[in-house]
């Protein structure tokens, strides 16, 4: 998948040449390619594909974790308002700074801030019941969506507004090796934490009260899972914009393959999500002469696939 995606694009590069370029830093090979071809593979496509793998894996594993914690297979990783907060942060940064680093940083911070707000809002009697979290997420999410609309309305319609709109639709084309290197440790550590505690998500998915009766400190476990999944999602959103449907659809496909046990569901979701996003991004780059925002494509593919999965699971049960 990765190799095919490296070859394909506006300029199609032969398979073996791509392979040779890929290994040229470690092996001494005769360069039979042009500077531009090298740059297309190494500087443009490779970081973008790596970002696609990371974002796809992060959104899928977060989606599967959130669905477990919230005991609901229809939950997406954006449920606590990450996407709305990060979207607002990005719009703010585009409006005032127009610097790619600031956009990433501010959208990341607002993504986290929105979830912190959701968490604070849902705290009653020193506990954070799941239902309160979901409702607070809706409140915070719609607040930030409204603020984002306000920014769009105020933005310069020739220049800034299209930039905001395009960012919100999601794309992997801002990614460079530099910002990948900064986000990589964040992605990896969050996903590692989720993988470590993955069996315990089974317990939370039976309900908090039940998990408590089995001897689990549910508040701490829930905080660890929500924090990791949120940071992973916020990192994904800050480098790629809002890419919907992956986090909700991929865990369903995973469940069809390995069943509901999170011990197997989380790893398989990561793998499928990574492969899926790279595939969709390749289509986004190659289908038309101009790039199609990837968020649109994931929704166009996601909705019917999800409808099919829903019908299928209804028939099964």
């Amino acid at each position: 998948m990765v190799l095919a995606s490296l070859c394909l694009g506006r300029v199609t590069i032969p398979f073996f040449q791509t392979l040779k370029i890929l290994f040229s830093p470690v092996l001494s090979l005769d360069p039979d390619w042009s500077e531009t071809t090298y740059s297309v593979v190494m500087d443009v496509r490779l970081p973008r594909i790596l970002a696609g793998l990371l974002v796809g894996a992060a959104l899928s594993i977060s989606g599967a974790s959130f669905q477990g914690v919230f005991q609901n297979p229809l939950v997406s990783p954006h449920i606590l308002g990450v996407a709305a907060g990060a979207g607002f942060g990005a719009a703010l940064a585009i409006l005032f700074f127009d610097n790619i680093w600031m956009i990433h940083l501010i959208s990341f911070l607002f993504g986290l801030a929105s979830v912190a707000m959701t968490y604070a809002l849902s705290r009653v009697y020193k506990m954070t019941p799941v239902l309160m979290l979901v409702l607070s997420g809706i409140v915070v999410g719609s607040l930030f969506s409204a603020l984002t609309s306000l920014l769009k309305y105020m933005a310069d319609p020739m220049n800034k507004m299209p930039a905001i709109v395009f960012w919100l639709l999601g794309s992997l084309n801002h990614v460079s090796f530099k910002n990948l290197l900064i986000t990589l440790p964040i992605f990896l550590s969050c996903m590692a934490v989720l993988l470590l505690v993955r069996w315990r998500i089974n317990l939370l998915s039976m309900g908090e009260e039940d998990a408590r009766s089995l001897g689990i400190n549910t508040e701490a476990l829930k905080a660890v899972i929500i924090l990791s999944a949120t940071i992973a999602t916020a990192s994904a959103v800050c480098i790629s914009g809002i890419i919907g449907w992956i986090g909700i659809m991929i865990p369903h496909i995973g469940r069809l393959i390995v069943g509901p046990d999170h011990k197997y569901l989380l790893p398989i979701s990561m793998v499928i999500g990574a492969a899926y996003l790279v595939a969709v991004d390749t289509i986004a780059r190659t289908a038309l002469t101009t790039e199609i925002p990837i968020g649109i494509l994931t929704a166009v593919f996601g909705a019917p696939v999800f409808a099919f999965l829903l019908r299928k699971s209804q028939r099964a049960s």
């Binding site: 317990l203 998915s205 998990a211 408590r212 089995l214 001897g215 469940r255 069943g259 509901p260 011990k263």
Partner: protein, 272 residues
């Protein structure tokens, strides 16, 4: 393995206000292997009391001790190793298999970052065999009958190797056959030495095999003691608000049963 339970002055309210108190001053003691049947009208707080004993809810005051060890100062994981709790109704959002559900009972013995070992799975199989549901192990939990589901939850609690088992109306929504099957399992567990506290809708369950019975009413334990002494017609009337005759059945059954008297029959059934 022992399982002596001492409950002292337990009280609970969702807030600190006096009018929000669900119950207070609950106290009783059980010897290892005894069965305590908790009766009371709907909404009297039977489930809440069980949740307080099992520490799913934190009581406002009072203490629960198992074999002299106070649960107030014990970690949740340690409590789960002594005390198993079988909820009244549990809905799984995902179709886990029976085996996956039963092995969850081992959670308190499995570290934060690992998953069940071979040993944990063996223990799960052991309890499934004991309860007689090993043939269901691979069945998704959304394809079980009510009775099977209740047995799965009991098997799950057994994997905790508990000394005390709390059951919250284990026979509600079950047909008569399944009710008796569950009650017989409960009886055999108590003969194995597990102390049992069971909430129930039916005073008959107390006569079946309870060593002690308590009636929770008006925010406190109205009466408690041996079923034969506690469950009189007067007490049942004041608990449920209807006339219930307590009749001793002989013929090899040798226990008392409760028979509700309908209003239309009252004048005829009554001795003048």
């Amino acid at each position: 393995m022992a399982g002596r339970v001492d409950i002292r002055d337990l009280s609970f309210g969702y807030t600190d206000k006096a009018e929000d108190i669900i119950f207070s001053g609950i106290r009783f003691s059980l010897e290892p292997g005894e069965v305590f049947c908790l009766l009371g009208p709907n909404g009297s707080g039977k489930s809440t009391l069980l949740k307080c004993i099992s520490r799913v809810l934190t009581p406002a005051s009072g203490s629960v001790a198992i074999d002299g060890e106070n649960l107030n100062t014990m970690s949740p994981a340690k409590i789960a190793g002594k005390l198993g709790y079988v909820p009244q109704s549990l809905v799984s959002a995902f179709p886990f298999t029976v085996e996956e559900i039963v092995v969850m009972g081992r959670a308190s013995r499995i570290s934060m970052i690992s998953s069940p070992s071979k040993q944990d799975r063996d223990k799960a199989w052991e309890s499934m065999e004991k309860i007689g549901i090993d043939h269901l192990a691979r069945r998704p939990c959304n394809r079980l009958s009510g009775g099977e589901w209740q047995l799965v939850l009991i098997a799950r609690a057994l994997t905790q190797s508990p000394r005390v088992l709390l059951l919250d109306e284990p026979t509600s929504h079950l047909d008569l056959g399944n009710q008796v099957k569950i009650l017989e399992k409960v009886g055999s567990l108590s003969r194995d030495g597990i102390t049992i506290i069971m909430a129930s809708h039916f005073p008959d369950h107390a006569f079946l095999h309870a060593d002690q019975v308590g009636i929770l009413k008006n925010r406190s334990m109205a009466v408690s003691g041996k079923p034969d002494q506690v469950l009189t017609e007067e007490v049942l009337f004041s608990t449920y608000g209807i006339r219930i005759r307590v009749i001793e059945v002989l013929d090899g059954i040798d226990r008392k049963i409760c028979v509700p008297v309908l209003k239309m029959n009252e004048s005829r059934g009554e001795n003048p």
